[in-house]
């Protein structure tokens, strides 16, 4: 278990304990967030392509523009997710008298995103499968684009693979949360109980919202 990434996944306590000896570095966590963003962009591109299928040839420029926006959002979204979780963890840990700089919190939050790489890849495969099964109505008027989006969304949500994809995403998030617990324990010098609460509260809420959305 000397390999870095594998240690993060299977022995996060020992990994972060050793990382505390050195200076905090954000390059690798940023790279992880970027990879997650790229994978998310692929999923977004697949969904955008499904929407474009429903547009007539003279309106497909809108679909391409929407696709480009979705890809850009996916890439930036990875970085935003990283920073957002880091900020939330830092703030909540302040309640538990956490001690440690933000950079270290951000670094360990980034390492905790590694399971999301696998989750993103599996999610992209599921997205492709869902979109492949989709029947997209073709519209002829620009004002029908909103209806088309709604129709595609409804179609994707009605696919039985969608809740399974959501559950898989939640499982990988739980795995990340487990890593973040160890990360916050060392980054913010928290007790195990406080680290669980620091991570468990926002992640739990996030999972709850996802489950409510999946159940409908």
């Amino acid at each position: 278990m000397d390999s870095g990434f594998l240690r993060v996944l299977l022995e996060p306590g020992r990994f972060f304990q050793e990382r505390m000896r050195g200076e905090p570095g954000l390059k690798i966590p940023a790279l992880i967030a970027l990879v997650i963003g790229i994978i998310g962009a692929v999923s977004a591109a697949i969904s955008a392509n499904a929407l474009t299928e429903g547009l007539p040839p003279d309106m497909q420029v809108f679909g391409l523009a929407g696709g480009a926006f979705a890809v850009a959002s996916g890439i930036i979204g990875g970085l935003i997710t990283w920073v957002a979780f880091g900020i939330v963890f830092y703030i909540i840990s302040m309640v538990f008298m956490g001690d440690g700089d933000f950079k270290r919190t951000l670094e360990f939050t980034g390492y905790g995103l590694i399971p999301q790489v696998f989750g993103g890849i599996i999610g992209a495969i599921f997205s492709y499968q869902i979109v492949s099964n989709l029947s997209v109505p073709i519209i002829s008027r620009p004002e029908d684009i909103a209806v088309l989006v709604e129709s595609v969304t409804t179609g994707m949500l009605s696919d039985p693979l969608t809740p399974i994809s959501g559950i898989v995403g939640i499982l990988f998030l739980i795995w990340s949360a487990n890593i973040w617990i160890f990360g916050m324990k060392y980054a913010r010098n928290l007790s195990t109980r406080n680290a669980v609460l620091t991570v468990g509260i926002p992640v739990g809420l996030y999972i709850l919202v996802n489950l409510v959305t999946l159940i409908g």
């Binding site: 022995e11 306590g13 492949s132 109505p137 399974i164 499982l171």
Partner: protein, 384 residues
Amino acid sequence: MKPLYIAIISIFCIVAALTGPAGAASADVTVVSSTLDPQVLMKGDTGTLTIVIQNTGSETVSIKSARLYGNGVVPLSEPYLAVGDLGAGNSKTFTFTVRADGGEGTFYPQFVLDFRNEGNLRYPVPVQVENTPLSVSVVERPDAFSESRTADITVRVGNPRPNAASGVQVIPLGTGFTVTPTSGFIGTLASDASGTVTFNLTPTAEMDVTFQVVWRNGINTHTTDLVLPVVFGEDKRQADPIITNVEVKSEFGRYRVIGDISNAGLESARSVIIAPGAPATPTDPFRVYVVGTLDPDDISSFEVTFAADRNVTEVPIVVEYRDDDGNRYTSTTMIGLGSGAGVSVASAAPAENSSGEFPIVGAIVAVLVALGVAGAIYYSWRRA
């Protein structure tokens, strides 16, 4: 007067006294009947004229010859040059072959009997010549002909002539069609009678069909033609498949067209098959859709799937069907794939999952992920 002269005069008187009754006997020979076969000739026809004479007197009459003279109706056979004696109360028949060389009307060729002793008998025989042919008309035919579609055509032949026509038959002539039967026999048609023949005609191209009526007037063969133009057109009763209620959906690289097809015609459309035409490329699962028989006013839904380039705005949906005779027809409806013209595209409807089945592979992946995550978490806490 010398005795020789007296003897000559006496012999003359005796001869005159003996031959005197013979002149009276020739007046008793009469024509009792004359018949012509056929009864009425047409110009150019050859007929047989039969004349019967009878000696109604009480003495034998010696006949030298019997001849027929005439203009318009001319004798073709030789005269009777040595007839001989005709006993009292006996009759004799003379037959002449005649030909109508003139125009229409009633002609009177002269029948002349030359008696051996004195005088002759002239008898004008009436012969009617009329050129009116048999009439032929089509009494039943389809509203329009179609290529390779069998049509029933009924031909009626009437006889407006004053005499019967024999051996009447109708023969369709021409190319570019098949016909059953190849000819129709009617037989003898009495005056003012008519007969019909029905043909099953299957045209393979536009052309003219000649219905030739062949008939005989006596021994003379005549023909009358009726030309029927066969021009392809739209049958007012034929099946008329109409595509409506079309929805076009895009499915990740292919299109799915769902719609209704109804038969707005008056005849059934059989073996109805629906398929996308070029530039579309049919794809599974619905390369073609078999509707089967579509009766008049029937409606059926259909579904076809195909692939098409992005720049294609319209694709044809080809409906192929057959009539009761197995003849194949096609009709094409253009379907818009976007803002193009044609049948209106679908308004936004909920997208459908093509399989609708539980994704077993996905569930297995989820279970494996759950086990893996649980194992990783358990391991991480054990090693903490």
